[in-house]
Every structure is written in C-alpha cells, then in structure tokens.
C-alpha cells in the first residue's frame, strides 16, 4: 500500500477532524493551508476536483502502464496462440492460404488484446479504490455524494484543527465519525 492509498477514511480515529466545503476553490485553499500547517489531509468529494491531487500530495494514477502492458501482451499471446493453432496443432489448408496467415488474424488479435485491456482496466479501477459490492461501507456523510466536499484533517491538536477549518470557511466542522451507508437517513449530515 502506498502513502497515497492509506486514506484517512480507511483508518478512522477520533483524532481526525472533518470540515465541509461547498465549492472546489474553498476546498483546495483549505487543503493547501492544512498541508502547509504540517497536518495529514484527505478529501472526500461528490465529484472529481481537478487540481486537488497535487495539493494532497497524490501522484498521478499508476494504472496506465499495466493496462498498456497487458494490451501488448494480449497482442503477442493472441497472435502466438493463432500460430500454435494454425501451424502446430491443426494445420489446415484453406483455399491455399498460408497456415500462419497473419494479416487475416489482425482483427481477432487486436480485439482480443483490447478486450483484455478493458477487463484489466476495469478491475484495476476497482482494486485501486478497493471497491467491492458492499452496502455496509462506512462513509463520512451522505452529503459527500451530493453537494459537500469533506476535508479530513489529522493534527496534533484537534481544537486547533477545528479552529483552522472554521477560519478557512468550512460550513460545518467536527470530529470525524464514520457511519455505515446503510444507516444513513436521507438529508442528514454526519454527526459532526
């Protein structure tokens, strides 16, 4: 597990404080200020906030190269498989075409490779965010999939963190309490 993956949400402690922000710029400014203060910071947002990753110290997602890799491997494996099929396993003369008629294999090979790439891409997306069919997952607030960004901050002095978050314009501030998604009632925010 990398630094970036060990999010606050997966390791809840009462020491974490949460502040809610309505807009992207407020969230980014607050995240930057809290990072500058030397605190540990994470964010939960209803939509992707561009420009937030570098502020939180998150690097670019690493799932590009593995996907490209399996696509290239898929090309080789599929073409190799057809070579085996046509030349080694069952050589069959089809209207005088060569046993290994590679131009005729381009389509199935390309499609197979891209299919493997798509499946790996999807599974990496699930894996990196540890997504599994789980209705009991714990969430910060039901509003974090609606209209509020949650900035989750861990500092040595919780009171100072809360004061700072209020100063930075958070609409609500409090200690982080995770709630099961199943028990969230509509319209309520987390108990902050």
């Amino acid at each position: 597990m990398t630094d970036a993956d060990s999010t606050a949400v997966s390791t809840p402690t009462a020491a974490w404080q949460v502040g809610f922000f309505a807009d992207d710029d407020g969230l980014k400014a607050a995240a930057r200020a809290c990072r500058t203060a030397g605190w540990q910071v994470d964010a939960v947002t209803p939509w992707p906030v561009h420009g937030l990753d570098p502020i939180l110290g998150l690097e670019r997602s690493w799932i590009g190269r593995p996907v490209l890799g399996v696509i290239l491997l898929g090309l080789l494996a599929a073409m190799g498989g057809l070579h085996f099929l046509g030349v080694v396993d069952w050589p069959l003369n089809v209207s005088g075409k060569p046993y290994f008629a590679w131009p005729l294999f381009v389509v199935p090979v390309l499609e197979t490779a891209l299919l493997i790439g798509a499946i790996v891409n999807f599974n990496l997306a699930l894996h990196t965010s540890r997504l599994l069919p789980n209705p009991l997952v714990e969430i910060v607030s039901a509003r974090c999939t609606d209209d509020r960004h949650a900035l989750v901050v861990l500092g040595a002095d919780p009171a100072a963190v809360r004061a700072k978050l209020i100063e930075l314009g958070a609409s609500e501030v409090g200690p982080l309490v995770l709630t099961s998604a199943l028990s969230i009632a509509h319209g309520e925010t987390a108990h902050v």
Binding site: A4, D5, T7, V9, D23, D42, A43, V44, T45, P46, W47, P48, V49, L52, D53, L56, L58, S61, I63, G64, I71, L85, G86, D89, W90, L92, V94, K97, L104, V107, P108, L110, E111, T112, L114, G117, A118, N121, F122, L124, A125, L126, T128, S129, R130, L132, P133, N134, P135, V137, I139, A142, C144, T145, D146, D147, A181, L182, I184, H186
Partner: protein
Amino acid sequence: MSTPAPSEATPPVFTATRITDDLTRVPLSLPPLPWYGAVLNVGGLAGLLFLSVLFYCVEGYGIFGTNNTVNWGNDIASYIFWIAVAVAGTLVSSILLLFRQRWRNAVNRSTEAMTVFAINIAGIYPLIHTGRPWVDYWLIPLPWDGLGLAPQFKSPIMWDVFAITGYATASVLFFYLGLLPDFATLRDRAKTTWQRLLYGTLCMGWKGTASDWRHYERAYSQFAWIATPLVIGMHSTIATLLAVTHVPGWHATVFPPYFVSGAIFGGLAMALVILVPMRKLLALENYITTDHLEKLSKIMLAVGLVVGYVYVMELFSAWYSENPVERDQYWYRMFGAHAWAYWLMIACNVGVVQLLWFRSIRRHAGALLLIGLLVNVGMWFERFNIIVLSLEHEYIPTRWTYYSFTPWDYLLLAGSFGMFFSQFLIFARIAPVVSIAEIKTVLLRRHKEGSHD
C-alpha cells in the same frame, strides 16, 4: 413537442443539491405516469421478439423469409442496423471525450446505455441466423467443446465474433464504471432499506476520496482510448465481412469507412429518437438542452453528407469499374423490383437530412424527433439494400429472386425495437439518465463563471 430553449430564456440556477434532486427523482420515487404507459407498449412489442424466437426454436429457420438465394435477410440487415446504433453511443461516450467536448456530459449516459442495449439486441440476430442456436457456443474457441476443432480464424465470420464480444464486454464495463459514483449518490439518498441495499451493492462501496477519483478518472479516460479503436475496428470488421466476398455491391474498398460513417449517422438519429421524448418524459429539459440536441444534429448532418457522398461514389465506382455485373447490380437497385427500397433510403438519408441545415429545425425538438425516425427508417433500408438487393441479383440469372418478409420477420423486427426501448425505460427507472457527478462539474463551473462552457 417543441420546447423553448432554456438557454434562450433565463438560464436556470443550478446548485449541486438541485442537480442531485432532479436526477435521482425517478430512480428513488415513482416514475411519471406516462412511463407506465410506455413500458406497457414497448414491453408488449418486446414480447413479439420472444414469440418469434420461440416459434423459430420450435419450428426451425424456415419460418423466416430467407431463402437459398437471399441467405442473409432480415437477420443480418437488422443485426448491422442495431450494431450501428451502438457505434454512435460509443462515439459520444469515447470519441467526444477524447476530443474534450464537455457538452457530451449531458448525453453520454443515455448514449452509453443505448450502446449496451443495442449490442445485446444485435447479438440475437447472428445467434438466430446460425440455424442451431443451441450450439452457438461452438463459435467460441473452447478446447473442451467435444468437436476437437478450433473455429476457422481465417474466416471473417470469426473476426466478427471476436469484434462483437470484445466490443460488447468493453462497453458494458465502461458503462458500469461511469455509473459507480451515481449509484453511490442514490445509496446515500435512498429512502428505503432495499434501495440502500440495492444501490449500496451496485456502487461497490464507492466513497469518493481524492485517491478514488484519481484512479477512477484515469480508468475512465483509458476506457475511451480502448473503446475508440474497438468500435471503429468492430464496425470496419462487419464491413470487411461483406467486402471480402465477390458479391456485386459488396466487393468495395470503401465499405469500412462507409459503414462507420453510416453507423454514426443512424445511431445519432436513434439518440435523438431516445433523447427527445425522454427529456420531456423525465422533465430533463434543463440538462439535455436544445443546445445539446443541436450539437448532435450538426454531427448528424456532417456524417449524413459523408453517407450521401458514398452513395454517389458507389454508383460511380460501379460504372467506372466496367464490370457488367457490378453495373447491373446498381441498375437493379435503382430500377429493379426493390427500387422503392433504394429510393426510400435516398429520400430519408440524403433528402430529409438536408433540413438540418436550418437552425430553426435543428433547435426544434419535435422536428428532430421526426427526422430521427425517418433517418432510422432510411438506415434500416440501407442495410436491407446492401444485404438483400445484392443477393437477390447476383451473378447467375437463374438464381435471381425476390425476397419478402414473412409475418415472423415482421414480429422479430418490431420486437427488437420493443426490446430496445423496454431496456431503456427500465434503465431510466433505476439509474440516473444523466451522469450526476459529471454534469455537476460542468454546470456548477458554468454557473460560477456565468458563461457557457
């Protein structure tokens, strides 16, 4: 049917909560009354598909109009028609994403759904067409199938199997990945326990941390990179399937681009046929605006011109080839027994679409719906002309024949439309038809900047 363009009136004020409310209303509460009526109607139509397929399984392939000369009839024409509908969905979801067209966020969810539903209907046809659908699994190269044989990979039919399965699987995964954050929104606003359980399971425990979003967005754009060559390759493969034969009217190098542009053309027409009634039914005029419909119809006009050009080039190539059979084929198309089908195609695909030059028509939802329907008719007949007319009038005059539908062909075709719209209505009932997370990034920023994106 016409709706005043919201952008021309006072622009609505969007807040994140309002967007969530508007887009989760139908999945989380009861749908509007017309929805039930629509489901009953198209559900009944879909029943015809099952009836037709059931009777086919009992009675055999002879119930359809296909014969020894026209051995690819309704099956393959409709198959290409539905696959083409899927192609346009991927154009909007992937190709427009790669071109950074942010307006696509309003319509990409619907068109991705259109892709998934059109592919599974398209898939029915070749599986029926094999004649023995219970052994269709022989198409998959399984070493344990008892045949001891691999499928023939030098045959374009096999290319097609791979193209369709690859494209269908990737489209479903892409569609589902896009739905994850929205399912999480539905989970967090669910009103009943079963809704919470359902959407909690479907959203895979989505939390929306900054780290989640960064991987998610990367995977999403990679899907666009994967889906774009897949879809172009897939439809080019279907075109090649025809072009590698020596059948007059098929043996043309122009076929792959011809098919891809035709697919985008017809598929966008289908998108209009879905979007115009849907935005009315679900009161989404503020999200799927007249501007969006206009942009779609502009693309449609552009590819429509390409399609018209290809129709002319087909005739020119046949004449220029000095091949008597090729020339005779096009003469037959224009003036033969099925000439009405050819001129219907020309009227719809070349004639009607010219109306889109007028801005007032591009911004009139009702007119777009009508044009969409007519272009769909034209595009179905395009495939009919390519498949049936070429086979009816091939090399040997003693084999020439006239193909006609049996009642079962009509049921199969009508049922496929019923099946398509049924799936779409059910989808609109359980999931947001506009991507909530994506549309917020566009609308909230636009609201803040006070300008259009």
